[in-house]
């Protein structure tokens, strides 16, 4: 168990390391940065800019800068924001919580919806229910997530039932905790719904196709011949057998979901990583950009680790190997 987990953990760390290296190399290739943009400001002299460059260490060669960044990561700072003159992590930390607040419930709901529906679709393959789901997922796949988010805003504007973007009502900080939670939940409904609609289709399809592969096998037919009840057959026997590729998909679905979440955050002004990332790109605040991408990578790696643990729990073959 520990060896298997350590190996997976090492793999995750390798991905994180690789991404950070990649970002630094890309950054090196970038023409200009926050400080060179500052030259456009007439009030800042050439000398000041030079001093600032030295102070921030931007004039150092790439390996040294990378080393310094690693040190600041070790200190939990993730570099510093040029624009706000604070450590990047102090900007990112509250944002990450908000992103998690949006993406974790969305991830849970997505899977809770996708698995039973996929199983049902596979069990009644080719019948009207299956066709209905297949048409529905095609449609949801074809709908750009952008449009879904905009439509959600339109619904909020037209019905007046839901808040139009944002995370809190005005003045909510003075309310009691229960009222605040209720307010937050109310603000979460539409963004979570959009993220779920945007990411449920591929998972549902995958559940269906891997269930079909299992249902076609001869031992399933034998179990059917023994007169097991259909629901027992599907959920007690077929689903665990089909679970393997689905658990691997869980890790990938985290990445997919994070992309949709980013878009939803920007369009529906949810104060997560997304809007901060966009803002820091426009002001060329590169360490914040790198920090945001690294955090999304971290979330992805965590998702993959959860998938690995689940796989270990579900698949005896891996337990024997490890």
């Amino acid at each position: 168990m520990t060896r298997y987990l350590l190996r997976r953990l090492g793999h995750g760390l390798l991905i994180i390391f690789g991404v950070s290296l990649l970002l630094f190399i890309l950054q090196q290739a970038a023409p200009g940065d926050f400080l060179s943009d500052m030259k456009l400001n007439g009030q800042i002299s050439e000398d000041t800019a030079k001093v600032l460059r030295a102070q921030y260490g931007v004039d150092q060669p790439l390996p040294r800068r990378y080393g310094r960044w690693m040190l600041s990561v070790a200190k939990g700072e993730l570099g510093y924001s040029f624009a706000y003159n604070v450590s990047a992590s102090s900007l990112l930390a509250p944002r990450v919580l908000n992103t998690l607040l949006l993406s974790v419930p969305a991830l849970a709901i997505t899977w809770i919806i996708a698995v039973p529906l996929g199983v049902v679709a596979s069990a009644w393959r080719g019948r009207w229910l299956d066709r209905f789901f297949s048409a529905g997922t095609s449609l949801a796949l074809a709908m750009p997530d952008l449009l879904l988010a905009l439509l959600a805003i339109l619904i909020a504007l037209r019905t007046h039932r839901y808040p139009v973007g944002g995370m809190h009502s005005v003045g909510a900080q003075d309310w009691g905790w229960f009222a605040r939670m209720k307010d937050l939940g109310w603000h979460m409904v539409l963004p979570v719904a959009v993220v779920v609609i945007g990411s449920v289709s591929p998972i549902l399809r995958q559940v269906r196709s891997s269930m079909i592969a299992v249902l076609d096998s001869s031992y399933m037919r034998a179990a059917e011949g023994h007169g097991l009840r259909k629901w027992t057959l599907l959920f007690r026997h077929a689903l665990p057998a089909a679970a393997n590729p689905l658990i691997s998909l869980f890790g990938l679905s985290v990445a997919m979901l994070l992309s949709v979440t980013l878009l939803v955050e920007v369009v529906m002004s949810w104060p997560g990583i997304g809007p901060l990332l966009l803002e820091s790109i426009l002001s060329r605040d590169l360490f914040v950009v790198i920090g945001a991408v690294m955090l999304s990578t971290l979330l992805l790696v965590i998702g993959n680790l959860i998938a690995d643990v689940l796989l270990y729990a579900v698949d005896p073959r891996i337990r024997v190997q490890a």
């Binding site: 023409p31 709908m143 750009p144 905009l150 504007l157 590169l286």
Partner: protein, 350 residues
Amino acid sequence: MTQRKRTKLVWAAWFLAVLHLVVLLAGFFAPYSYDTQDREHPYAAPMRVHLVDAAGRWHFRPFVYGLKAREGSLTAYEEDHTQMFPVNLFVAGEPYTVLGRFHFQTHLLGVQSKAGVEAPARIYLLGADGFGRDQFSRILYGGQVSLFAGILAATLSAIGGLFLGMVAGMFGRPLDDVIMRVGEIFIALPWLYLLISVRAFLPLQMSSTATFALVVGVIGIVGWGRPARLVRNVVLSARERNFVLAARGFGAGKFYLMRRHILPATMSVILPQMALLVPLFMMAEVTLSFLGLGVGEPFPSWGNMLASAQQFHVISSYWWMLLPGLAPAPVFLACHALADSWQEKLKSAV
């Protein structure tokens, strides 16, 4: 391969071909240029094309009514029944260029002002935006950016993936390990984060052609992982096949083998994969332009056209501003149908 699948393949291919042709010849099919403004009619609603006039008379030629501002409003209009403009085919209008070289003046359809009538005739099939620019024309021109960004980026990443996948498959370790590990990172990361961060390190203000090339390049660079992995797997299995082993036994070199035997084998995965990547990359361009990191005004892309819908008053009052967001949907469906049936066809051909 069933007959139904074959029909689906043909339909999807034709639909995409026609769509691309229309978009390429946007100048002809669009009544106006993408930047022709009409300050008299911001946010004009989609016009109704009539056959029956207000008095109940039938007309042989379809026509539209002129617009007049509704009482007490600046951006709501009603039909002005005193002004009738017949819709003509092949009318002479604003000059435009096709493929950057050929100059024409004839548009597929348009309306012409009658002499002596004050208001210039305009036809807004899908409404107008805040500058009075025709949405229909802009969607067609926007397709030039969005559709072709998808195709070019898919081609780019397919070529990159083909090259790297072949190298990884043919030359084995340690090159294989390096390429595949890096590719894995590209596949595993949330693509939007990756896309935006790669874009972040490149200059923000550029001419629209340069931005287009840049966006295509960025998407292509970010997307090579998946095709590379597919190609590598095909290469690994193809190089062990008997005819390849035989050719190698006769003294064929690595490059001859790659060109003559391995490359054709990879086509059966790379082409359907491209059909799947095109809509994905199209959406990547739309998203980047929507966020203001892609092609900028005045040239339209389906993404930057949608950006104005972020303003609450626009989205709540003028639903036609959301239409550019609907435009990718049929492309998406057609590409998926194409990939689906193409895969089957190539599979049955092997």
